[in-house]
């Protein structure tokens, strides 16, 4: 539905960040969770041609237009979700991983996740003691309409609780934890099923890690401005 081409120069031996002018869509099909509507997916591809060389690289991703909001309800203490402005009653399954020997095939993911959809679930929570799930997992959650609650790698029983009490300060190398977290976000952030990042299981990570995660994952100021004016909101 949209094609846009820009001419740019990239200096020798350098790396830069480029933002396309925004692409406008009128009433595109929205992505909905299982049970609320279709899981409409668009294919977004980015290509770069270099003068004198031809196509240099390409990238593509299935993408869904959806807006997910959530907040802690004062009355119940539970987290309430809305998708595309509509409240959704979450029916979730807890997930560690598909196989303890990490034989994580696409067929296995497809079967496991379809099973969750067939059970009328609309969310999978990836527990902090397991994996940051793989793009193939997220692909099938996109396809079958399972929202994903993804936790980082903190559990109370290894980071602060247990007998004897474990180290409450989390992993020894906090910089490494944050590096891994940032890289994982980059790996998974374009999947429409990705609904919520959570610091860990049943507890918050050590303060410096928690602060850094909250800061890195907060809404970009551009979209805060848009929200303040009541003009729209971020997906």
């Amino acid at each position: 539905e949209q094609l846009q081409t820009q001419n740019i120069s990239v200096p020798a031996k350098s790396r830069l960040q480029y933002t396309f002018p925004e692409l406008f869509f009128y009433k595109p099909d929205l992505w909905w969770p299982n049970g609320m509507g279709k899981q409409s997916l668009y294919n977004v591809s980015i290509n770069i041609d270099v003068k004198g060389f031809g196509e240099s690289d390409s990238w593509s991703q299935y993408f869904g237009f959806r807006k997910i909001e959530s907040h802690i309800d004062d009355a119940t203490g539970g987290r309430l979700f809305k998708v595309n402005g509509e409240p959704i009653f979450i029916r979730g399954g807890n997930w560690i991983l598909s196989d303890g020997l990490l034989r994580l095939s696409k067929k296995r993911y497809s079967t496991d996740i379809k099973f969750h959809a067939d059970m009328n679930f609309n969310m999978i929570r990836c527990w902090g003691g397991g994996l940051a799930e793989r793009p193939e997992f997220y692909h099938y959650c996109d396809y079958y309409g399972l929202l994903v609650w993804q936790e980082f790698w903190i559990t109370g029983d290894c980071d602060g609780r247990g007998i004897p009490v474990s180290n409450p300060n989390g992993p020894l190398d906090h910089d490494l934890f944050l590096f891994c977290a940032r890289d994982t976000v980059k790996l998974l952030r374009n999947h429409p099923s990705l609904a919520l990042w959570v610091g860990g299981n049943e507890q918050t990570p050590p303060k410096d890690i928690n602060d850094a995660l909250k800061n890195d994952l907060k809404l970009h100021p551009y979209f805060e401005h848009v929200n303040e004016k009541g003009k729209g909101g971020l997906s």
Partner: protein, 263 residues
């Protein structure tokens, strides 16, 4: 003949061996002394997968998820980390033409590794949940036939399992940035190798002088979802020694049926 641009997944033809049973170093394995096949100590390897997955595949140990099979497998706390430190070896074909570049990508290794390609060593840092992208353009063989060996080290703190078990064993695994269920939980027995291995996709990616890195797509919504904007940002890296004049395009399509797209 040049290799076609794009991604090739390296998910077959791998061999593995316990590192202290191999009498060559990484440079020798990827130059003069590659394994000639699944001949002891080498065996066919599961990549992506774990060391334990490879041992199960080759029936060296029983399947830990059947009966009491897990009890028959040596735990890393008793064996020591060396027991689950393994070599993984494969070959791949990649012959570049002028101005092409090649990245060797690992999407997940638990926990750290030494990579040898055609005799060159590259150390991969620790961390189970990080990607590694190595520019190997200058160390590929001109004839296109390349030898790759990866020495994978287990987590630094695999810990031990108390006789009574318990959530997260003795909690040592929490010192590393790795999955924690592997020390056993109320719903699973300990994983003996702590999931050591090349546990996620390995690939080579051929590009031209400029490559696309980690695009980010965000949408914003207006007028009750009638007007929607797609915001796309990407990093670009020019690895050539000249300024690249580029034409960068973004293309959004919807698949109507099969491979028919609406543009």
């Amino acid at each position: 003949m040049a290799t076609v641009q794009g991604k090739t997944t390296l998910d077959s033809g791998w061999f593995a061996a316990r590192f202290n049973e191999v009498h060559f170093n990484g440079t020798q394995l990827t130059t003069t002394n590659p394994p000639s096949g699944p001949i002891l100590p080498w065996m066919e390897a599961l990549v992506p997968g774990t060391v334990l997955g490879t041992l199960v595949k080759n029936k060296v140990v029983p399947d830990p998820f059947y009966g009491l099979g897990n009890e028959a497998i040596l735990d890393i706390a008793d064996s020591g980390r060396d027991y689950y430190t393994f070599w993984f070896f494969t070959t791949f074909h990649c012959k570049l033409s002028k101005n092409q570049h090649c990245d060797l990508n690992f999407r997940g290794i638990n926990y750290s590794a030494d990579v040898y390609l055609n005799g060159h060593k590259i150390v991969l840092p620790k961390g189970m949940f990080r990607r590694h992208s190595l520019d190997v353009t200058n160390i590929l063989h001109p004839d296109g036939n390349n030898l790759l060996a990866v020495l994978v080290h287990p987590p630094d703190h695999p810990g031990s399992i108390p006789p009574e078990g318990g959530q997260g064993g003795d909690h040592e695994i929490g010192k590393d940035v790795a999955t924690q269920y592997v020390q056993g939980w109320d719903w699973i027995a300990p994983i003996r190798d702590r999931n050591t291995g090349i546990w996620d996709e390995v690939s080579i990616v051929i590009t031209g002088p400029v490559k696309i890195i980690d695009p980010h797509l965000v949408s914003s919504f207006f007028d009750n979802y009638k007007r929607i904007y797609l915001h796309a940002t990407t990093e670009l890296e020019n690895r050539s020694s000249w300024t690249a004049e580029c034409s960068l395009s973004i293309h959004v399509t919807t698949e109507l049926e099969g491979s028919i797209h609406l543009v």
